[in-house]
């Protein structure tokens, strides 16, 4: 283990992160909401901590090894979630406990969107903005941002990139240089954010709400500036804008990059993961809308259609915006939606969940077993589109899947051990691990009613989900620490 390098990068990243506490101060002064002080304190604390971590080792110049990459990423998300909580903890108006502040900050950074706050509509603008900004930064991954702006990371950048980016196939780079790849991803991300903001504005939001919701939409986060989430605006047009951008943000960003680079959209239709993703969303939406019509009748067909599609896309992509309290919806719908969040978005997007491509590979493996029963002597490779998938990748998918299930079960038991009922515990773990946000039962509108222990379990779940389990898991193996 290369402690000095890990420490140096950690310090640098922390100092960089402290800068993100400055925009809320500007918002605070602009809206005159008298809550700039916690941000100044948070900024000072984070900067000082980063500086103190960095100072003793600032001369160390070594390349990151593979193992250091895991450690940096895991440490950074943990440390950052904690320091990100500082302004929330310091804010007098909120009077949050340490647990609550960390929960809220981690939920933001991991783009989960579960909240322990109520009365959002009354909160100062600066704090509302800060929560949304956390989601936006977390969406693309702060490490990817760091790779883009810290070319001094050099070769080691790939280790960080691979430890953080979601999806089973991580070796494909968009451009030869890792720095350029990271930059390209951020350009696409930023372009979508701006487009989304303008679209929200045109659909009728104010500029502040448009910016804030654009942040949490493209990040597939789910934080809102209102208790009623997107439902607050009660506008079909805004719902449609949200649907479109959640859908886009759930697609693999390298597809967007190619669309931008070669000015073409043909490759979307050719991508097997995208097709499966679109098909999956469509199926869920049709079932939801159909069931709603069956139970509610056709009194307001247009609004029911939009609500159904909105909730299907929002939950299945793991965003977590709501227009209605879907946990009260009839029949199997609430559980269906929670299950859909296990699929999540595409690999290489900002969405959570297990990712469409993994399900697709698992499905293809199942299909292969069936085909083998019919043709015992056939040689049948697992293929995605025209390319055969390496057995190694398929193995990794199964490994991931089983670890996901184990992590889920353990956390579910732990949650229930804190005294929660099964529906609440199940959905709370799903909402955390899939980076979804809202759950069912007691956690339908927020996690404020949970005990501290349950909240910490949830925080761990969010981290595990964001880092796709293995990055964290590898740190607790003795093998990792052995020299």
């Amino acid at each position: 283990m290369n402690w000095a390098v890990v420490q140096r990068i950690l310090g640098l990243l922390l100092m960089m992160f402290s800068v993100t506490m400055l925009p809320p101060i500007a918002f605070s002064l602009y809206y005159n909401d008298h809550s700039w002080l916690p941000f100044v304190e948070g900024f000072g604390l984070t900067l000082a901590a980063g500086f103190l971590i960095w100072l003793p080792v600032h001369r160390s110049r070594k390349d990151l090894r593979l193992r250091d990459g895991f450690l940096v990423v895991a440490a950074f998300w943990t440390v950052l979630g904690t320091f990100g909580a500082a302004p929330l903890y310091f804010a007098d108006g909120l009077s949050l406990s340490f647990t609550d502040a960390v929960f809220e900050s981690m939920s933001g950074l991991t783009t989960t969107g579960a909240t322990i706050l109520t009365g959002l509509d009354e909160l100062p603008f600066s704090i509302l903005y800060y929560r949304q900004q956390l989601q936006w930064l977390g969406g693309m991954g702060i490490i990817v941002l760091a790779v883009a702006v810290l070319p001094m990371l050099g070769v080691g950048g790939m280790q960080l990139y691979r430890a953080e980016t979601p999806g089973p196939v991580k070796d494909t780079k968009l451009t030869p240089r890792i720095t350029e790849t990271a930059k390209a991803l951020w350009y696409v991300y930023a372009a979508f954010t701006v487009t989304c903001m303008v679209a929200y504005r045109l659909a009728g939001m104010g500029w502040f709400d448009a910016l804030c919701h654009a942040f949490s939409t493209v990040a597939i986060g789910g934080f809102s500036t209102h208790d009623a989430s997107i439902g607050h605006f009660d506008s079909g047009v805004i719902d449609v804008v949200a649907i479109v951008f959640m859908f886009i943000a759930g697609i693999n960003f390298s597809l967007h990059f190619f669309a931008w680079r070669y000015v073409s959209i043909k490759h979307y239709a050719k991508d097997p993961e995208f097709r499966a993703y679109a098909f999956m969303l469509l199926t869920v939406a049709v079932i939801v809308v159909f069931t709603l019509y069956q139970f509610r009748g056709f009194s307001d067909p247009g609004q029911t259609l939009i609500n159904g599609v909105f909730q299907a896309v929002s939950i299945a992509t793991t965003t977590g915006f709501t227009t209605e309290n879907f946990s009260l919806w009839p029949a199997a719908l609430p559980v269906l939606l929670i299950f859909a969040s296990f699929i999540g978005g595409c690999a290489g997007s900002t969405a959570g969940g297990i990712k469409v491509i993994r399900w697709l590979l698992i499905y293809k493996q199942g299909a292969r077993e069936v085909a083998r029963l019919v043709h015992p002597n056939a040689e049948i490779p697992v293929k995605l589109g025209a390319t055969a998938i390496q057995p190694r990748v398929v193995d990794a998918v199964w490994g991931f899947f089983s670890v996901y299930v184990v992590a889920f079960s353990v956390m579910l038991l732990a949650m229930m051990a804190t005294g929660l009922d099964q529906v609440t515990a199940f959905s709370a773990v799903a909402a955390s691990l899939n980076n979804l946000g809202p759950g069912l039962g007691d956690v339908a509108s927020g996690f404020m009613s949970l005990s501290d222990t349950a909240k910490w379990i949830s925080v761990i779940g969010m981290l595990l989900g964001r880092l796709e389990i293995f990055t964290l898991l590898v740190l607790i193996t003795p093998m990792f620490w052995r020299h």
Binding site: M158, D171, T175, P176, E180
Partner: protein
Amino acid sequence: MKILILGAGQVGSSAAYHLSREEANEVTVVDMRPDVLRELQDRLDIRTVVGHAAYPDVLERAGASDADIVVALTDADETNMVACQIAYTSFRTPTKIARIRSAEYMNANKLFTQDAIPIDVRISPEQLVCSHIEQLILYPGSSQVLDFADGRVRLVGAKADREGLLVGQRIATLKDHIPNTEGRIAAIYRGGKAMLPKGDTVIQEGDEVFFITDRKDIRVFLSEMRRLEDPVRRVVIAGGGNIGLRLALALEQTNQVKLIERDPVRARHISEQLNKAIVLVGDAADEELLLEENIDNVDVFCALTNSEESNILSSMLAKRLGAHKVMALINRASYVDLVEAGSIDIAISPQQITIGSLLAHVRRGDVVKVHSLRRGAAEAMEAIAHGDKDSSKVVGRQIADIELPKGTAIVAVVRGDKVIIAHHDTVIETDDHVILFMTDRRKIEHLESLFQVDVSFV
């Protein structure tokens, strides 16, 4: 610069390593073996594409449409030629470099024109390595001999020993030692650290000294650094592969050459091609065989087989049995460090020899030649100065006034046919070939910018 490297073999990987180390380059490597590429991508900041290097769609995927340079380094000459042809026809790639191994293609000169096979630069690592060894044999005592300006000027590296005439003295006294020669010491490596010499620097035993001089004066200069060795007479070459055979062919007229080859069929084949050299069938690490062939009287023993481990072992054995000087072909950089400290006199690294000819085409500014030294940490480079006093940062200026980056020195200037050894008051003229020595490769961008003509003045 966007660079496409075809083939991730030894030369391809080391080219990718050297090129991707420079900030300004974006390197993509194409190969058919996914496992090799994965391993390469773990170490280097490059993009990799799996596929046949000469297929148009593979080249397209690898970004040939906006590549500045295609470097075809696959095992097969034919693949390399077709790949360059396709890069030229379908993608209009400006610079195409290809490895051509077989002498049959290499010698057919009219073949490589824009309307036949459009390859701008042909490199043959075997030939480069072979002529490198030839130079070392021609100038015994030198550890590196590098050509500039078509061989008119040579940069020579040598390890100073106790019997060198200049050792223990200040460099300024060089003029008194050898009054009628032109030359200067470019750099000194002492204990692995580079230093640019001044007049009062004292050369010590064990220093690795790089000096530049006209080719006729090399032997005189060498005698200043170390005991002058007798010209090489007897050479034993271990390994009759491409390099071994070429070297035997080049040396057999002037030297007594024995070549040891393991494979009887191959031995038969090379013996038919050689006229004077003796081909021995056997193992180069066989003590009996070496003794029988009077290894203790051999001036130079060259181990040039494909396996670097056996090269190391057989040359160590030869040294112990009494060969005066042993050289071994070693690819792995870590081995080079290991053995050069020990009993092997010179480690020959084909990668380092080859990479220079690639680097010359990647550099911005009009760079004719680049030699990579000390595992790529240092570089010697020949660049042409263009423009006039206003548009260029070097032309019309005295060397002392040029803002060279730290650790860099101008060592010589070639003007037309004349070789001028650089002094602080030498004035650079336009179209001069300027020869530089760089102890710190990281300053390369600064140096490149010096030799670029400022466009706003043209």
